[in-house]
């Protein structure tokens, strides 16, 4: 379960209050600059909220954090959250295989699944190809592969289907639906929202739960 109570971040997020049950699939919608990415940053610890409370699983964290709580908070994030922002996280001069090896050496992944997904997502590139020479769509597929193969309980993904072809997009949504994990994604991809348990819309720095999709 993830619960945010009165979370604020310097004017971008104003009093966010959400409650996400365990293993829910959540989508964040909203126009550019509405605060979707910031919310993911706050949940993943890239930035810390100015005030409010975050409850995740057994952990409860009051912001601003006390000095003694930093270590506990960061450890909790490292052990439970998987957050990928965009393709810039990869090393452009490394090959596909080297990037995968490097990232998987830093965290826990289901290694067999990675190469299985590599062929399922039809990544038609030689793994020894240098990363800067591959297309944006292929880079995005690699993000999807890493996310699905991660052993973490909470997956946070910022526009994971950006640049994916329709077939890969469908495969991605189909696969994450089957995962026994809490997944939060931000997207502009309105057609796919029926696949999710909860839909939040970011509007003028506030989060609003959307119950009737036709309003969007």
């Amino acid at each position: 379960m993830i619960e945010l109570i009165d979370i604020k971040k310097n004017g971008i997020i104003e009093e966010a209050n959400i409650r996400i049950p365990k293993n829910s699939k959540v989508v964040l919608l909203g126009s550019n600059g509405a605060g979707k990415t910031t919310l993911l940053y706050l949940l993943s610890g890239v930035y810390l909220p100015d005030s409010g409370v975050i409850k995740m699983g057994k952990g409860e964290f009051n912001f601003p954090l006390k000095l003694v709580d930093y270590r506990r908070y960061f450890q909790f994030l490292r052990n439970n959250i998987f957050f990928i922002e965009n393709t810039t996280i990869f090393h452009e001069k490394f090959s596909i295989e080297q990037n995968i090896k490097y990232f998987t050496s830093m965290d826990e992944y289901e290694m067999d699944k990675i190469w299985e997904l590599y062929s399922q997502f039809k990544v038609n590139e030689n793994p020894s190809k240098i990363f800067k020479n591959i297309s944006k769509g292929t880079k995005q597929k690699l993000i999807a592969i890493l996310a699905i193969a991660s052993k973490k309980q909470y997956l946070l993904l910022d526009e994971p289907t950006l640049g994916l072809d329709n077939e890969s997009k469908l495969l991605f949504y189909k696969t994450i639906k089957l995962l026994n994990k809490t997944i939060i994604i931000s997207t502009h991809d309105i057609e796919s929202i029926s696949d999710f348990d909860l839909v939040y819309n970011c509007e003028s720095n506030h989060l609003v739960e959307v119950k009737n999709y036709e309003n969007i």
């Binding site: 810390l48 957050f83 922002e85 050496s105």
Partner: protein, 268 residues
């Protein structure tokens, strides 16, 4: 176990980095060792060396070592932190690094310092061999330890400069200017001031070089100085790690409006 996994990740990164510029790296290494071997093979013999010559040579070698030590220790933290934070966006990958960003950056900087130390030591030894100045090689093995401790203690200031540069978004030129001022301050400090570990390390290095080149004897370590240096080393490591930890917290509390819109532009 965790430290081994972290080391594995680091060596994997180093090996991939090496492979990306394989030809350039191999050529540079060949040129470097070629020059050293060539200098040693052409070594000259100063048969008649006066005390004045010896003191001049010792001062020259000492000065080279100290300058290399300060610049290496001072610049490595900023170079690594700037690259990891601004270019590789390491804090944005925080949750993908189970062993911690701080640990990874700390390991990268330490590895860079050690590499720089090895290059400095080999260059100095090559220079001394080629000038046929070595009386007893054991003096230079002893020299390795104050050099290592010196680089790590200087790096504390390098970490501080780096954190100021990154948090205030200073330009590289400005950071280099601050570093140069600090190098000058370091060179001005009087020898053997116990409140300033660098001065003790400097005296120790001077003592070793003078013993070998001027007095032609094996340097005898003072036990209390060795203890002092070990404490300095441990404190330096702890301070460096602490500074990195604080950097992580400060970056997360930083106002994000600018970064936020930049991200939106990047993803469009």
């Amino acid at each position: 176990m965790r430290i081994f996994k972290l080391l594995r990740t680091h060596f994997l990164y180093e090996s991939f980095e090496l492979r990306t510029r394989f030809l350039g790296n191999i050529l540079a290494l060949l040129l470097y060792f070629g020059l050293i071997i060539f200098s040693i093979s052409q070594r000259s013999y100063f048969i008649e060396r006066s005390n004045y010559d010896n003191i001049t040579i010792a001062s020259f070698i000492y000065f080279i070592i100290i300058i290399r030590m300060i610049t290496g220790g001072m610049s490595s933290p900023y170079n690594v932190i700037e690259k990891e934070v601004n270019k590789h966006k390491l804090y944005h990958k925080y949750t993908l690094i189970r062993y911690g960003c701080e640990n990874l950056i700390f390991l990268r900087i330490s590895s860079k310092i050690i590499k720089s130390l090895l290059i400095n030591s080999i260059t100095t030894l090559g220079l001394l061999f080629s000038l046929n100045l070595i009386y007893d090689i054991s003096n230079y093995l002893i020299l390795f330890f104050p050099l290592l401790i010196g680089m790590f203690s200087v790096s504390v200031i390098g970490y501080l400069v780096a954190i100021i540069g990154i948090v205030l978004d200073l330009k590289r030129e400005m950071v280099s200017f601050i570093q140069i001022i600090i190098v000058v301050v370091f060179l001005q400090v009087k020898s053997f001031n116990l409140l300033f570990p660098f001065s003790v390390i400097r005296s120790e290095i001077n003592g070793i070089i003078t013993s070998d080149i001027v007095f032609a004897e094996v340097y005898k370590n003072n036990l209390s100085t060795v203890g002092y240096l070990i404490v300095t080393f441990i404190l330096s490591l702890a301070l460096c790690y602490g500074i990195l930890y604080i950097l992580g917290i400060v970056l997360r509390y930083k106002k994000i409006k600018g970064d936020y819109f930049q991200h939106e532009i990047d993803t469009k």
